[in-house]
């Protein structure tokens, strides 16, 4: 999901931020601790220094001036010049070096200038060629030639002093004085006898072991493995037991080294590192790192946990969504299936409806024609009938007046007038049938009775040439409508049938019930209707009869009446063989409830 992909980088950013903050805080705290430690050391130093502050300051200044001179003349060629520098230094540090080699128990170590076997080669050469031996209280000290030590980026002055006990050499103390500072002048002390056996190495920079100086309260040891500038172990020695209490850096070593400069001989040996301070420092650092680490771990834990939870929720959601989706798909599919079936069914219905609609449309167009014809007929009828009345009336009077004069010619023309009026009247009368306002539509009409009436009316014409076959429904067939108009319909159809038969023929008149409709069929063996005329038979004024024989309105009116009754006329005809008209009219409830029967 989208929200998830956005969330992940945010979380990572938070983790990174936490780490950064933790680092910064721990760094700041470390700085603080360092400062504190320095402060502690400084305070210790100040306590020590207060014995002879002034003297210490003077020595510092002197040392600085030596360093400067050395820097001014980097390439010292002249033996004399170098010797002079060394002498100056020696003169400056005579007292100091003597102090540095005071015995642990408080008594002084005496130095002699004798360098015996076992002393390093370097020392030897230094002693023979470039070293100065300074003796004080019977002890000799060798001071090597100053050289530039790249690792500390400074000039240093090697100082060595053999250590004797009962006139035998037990150690060679090696030290170096940095010109630049006074912090790291004394590196170590070697000692033998009741303290510890030690090895004195031949090379200045190789492994040497230096043994502890012990005081009343504190004990510290600077033990140097490998280079003097490498990391140092800080060892606590108490009651003859040696214990490593930590590792110090070169910086820490320097700090330790600085305390050697005290004029108070008895206390000068204290390499005053408070183990607690160191321990606190390491503990603080460790604690801080631990805290940061814990923070980081917990942050990561919470972050990861959150991610996992999120992921699980996401997966659950996804599963749920999936399930819902599947359900939906299933539902939709089922619905679609149903809809499809419905649609197929509807399609069929629609096709049927379309056909019906088309039929209805045709019918509507036809009825529209009829309706306008009705209005026209009413108007024309009324206006024409008055003048017709004049003609007819005039004719009648003329006939009367001319009765006394029986001229055949006059008679003929009077008849012509009479015929004209008669035809006009017939047409107007027919047209009047288009008027829809005429007649009730709620009469109960017995179909069989109406058919029989029509046959009766046409009786005379029929008798001679047509054989009528009646196939009537056993029970009364009743439709609701206008009896007079229905008479007109059947009269018209029957007249057509009769007129279609030229010599002799048969008319089958059938009446039955089918699907809630009265079905009246009139079929004849007459001349039939030409195919091209089939769709014109219901048009008003369409006729194939001779002039005066038919108006062409009869069938059109029949169609209109049947339609008015909610029924239908259909026609099937084969030219020169015969025609069948089928009229379907909705049954009245009375007939319908009587039930349908197959005839």
């Amino acid at each position: 999901m989208k929200s998830r992909s956005v969330f992940k980088p945010i979380l990572v950013a938070i983790l990174i931020g936490l780490t950064l903050v933790t680092s910064i805080v721990s760094y700041l705290v470390w700085i603080g601790v360092k400062e504190k430690r320095f402060t502690d050391l400084e305070s210790t130093a100040s306590i020590l220094a207060r014995y002879d502050d002034l003297a210490l300051r003077q020595r510092e200044l002197a040392l600085v001036s030596v360093g400067k001179r050395m820097l001014d003349v980097p390439d010292i060629q002249a033996e004399e010049a170098r010797l002079k520098i060394a002498k100056d230094a020696l003169a400056l540090y005579t007292e100091f070096l003597a102090i540095g080699l005071t015995r642990f128990d408080g008594s002084m170590i005496t130095f002699t200038g004798n360098v015996t076997a076992g002393a390093p080669n370097l020392m030897k050469s230094s002693l023979t060629k470039r070293s100065f031996i300074h003796a004080r209280n019977g002890t000799r000290i060798s001071i090597g030639e100053p050289y530039y030590f790249r690792q500390v980026n400074d000039w240093v002055l090697p100082i060595r002093a053999p250590m004797f006990e009962n006139d035998s050499l037990v150690a060679l103390n090696t030290s170096a004085i940095r010109y630049k500072g006074i912090n790291d002048n004394l590196k170590s002390f070697g000692i033998d006898g009741r303290y510890r056996v030690h090895t004195i190495n031949t090379a200045f920079n190789t492994t040497q072991i230096y043994y502890p100086l012990e005081t009343s309260q504190y004990a510290a040891l600077l033990r140097k493995d490998a280079s003097i500038y490498d990391d140092l172990e800080v060892v606590e020695v108490k009651n003859g037991m040696e214990r490593v209490i930590g590792f110090n850096s070169f910086e820490a070593y320097q700090m330790i080294g600085v305390r050697i400069f005290s004029q108070d001989i008895d206390k000068a040996f204290i390499v005053s590192v408070n183990s607690n301070i160191l321990f606190d420092f390491f503990w603080n650092q460790f604690r801080l790192i631990l805290l940061a680490y814990l923070l980081l771990v917990s942050a990561s834990f919470f972050g990861i946990n959150y991610l996992i939870k999120k992921d699980r929720k996401y997966k659950d959601d996804l599963a749920e969504q999936n399930r819902k989706l599947e359900q939906q798909v299933e539902d939709r599919t089922r619905k679609l299936k149903v809809t499809n079936e419905e649609l197929s069914a509807t399609n069929g219905d629609l096709n049927k409806a379309l056909k019906e609609l088309k039929d209805a449309q045709d019918q509507l167009i036809k009825s529209e024609k009829m309706a306008s014809l009705g209005v026209l007929a009413a108007g024309v009828g009324h206006e024409i009938n008055n003048p017709l009345n004049f003609i007819q009336g005039g004719h009648t009077v003329l006939v009367e007046l001319l009765e006394s004069n029986p001229s055949e010619e006059i008679k003929t023309y009077l008849d012509v007038i009479a015929e004209g009026v008669k035809r006009c009247t017939a047409i107007i009368e027919s047209l009047s049938n288009y008027s829809r306002q005429a007649g009730d539509m709620n009469e109960e009409c017995n179909v069989q009775t109406i058919l029989d009436n029509c046959l009766l009316i046409l009786g005379n014409k029929m008798k001679s040439k047509v054989k009528v076959v009646k196939q009537y429904w056993d029970e009364k067939v009743v439709v609701i409508g206008n009896e007079g108009k229905l008479h007109q319909v059947f009269l018209n159809v029957l007249t057509n049938a009769e007129q279609s038969i030229e010599d002799h023929g048969t008319i089958i008149l059938a009446c039955s019930i089918e699907k809630g409709h009265a079905v009246i069929s009139v079929s004849d063996t007459g001349c039939g209707i030409k195919k091209r005329n089939m769709n014109k038979i219901s048009d008003p004024f369409f006729t194939t009869k001779a002039p005066g024989q038919g108006t062409g309105l009869g069938l059109s009116i029949a169609y209109s009446i049947v339609e008015e009754h909610g029924g239908k006329i259909s026609c099937d005809s084969v030219f020169k063989e015969g025609t069948e008209f089928v009229i379907k009219l909705p049954l009245s409830r009375m007939t319908t409830t009587a039930g349908e029967r197959v005839k």
Partner: protein, 124 residues
Amino acid sequence: MKESSNITILYVDDEEINLLLFGRSFSKKHNVLSAGSGREGLEILGRNENIDVVISDMRMTDMSGIEFIKLAKQEYPEKIYFILTGFVFGEEIESALKNKLIANSFSKPFNQDQIEGAIYDALH
């Protein structure tokens, strides 16, 4: 029961030719009075108590045949009324027939025998 010659007919029509022809056709057997409008018809009815049958055209200028007959029948309900019109179909005439305001209606051009028959039926 009256003899044909004793029957008095009032014919109302706004066309003079129609009045002339109707009079010419029926006056041989009956006593025919003519009116050119509904109002005139009502006047004649007021003057002649012996009128038996009233036949009126439908479309006239001052009032329609039905309107005229309605007014007339209020005053003289015992008389028999007919409509003779150019076009017999219409709601007015149908309802008039239904309400027995008129005994029958005839279409122009009139058929004398039809009208004679109807009059005979109505009076007997």
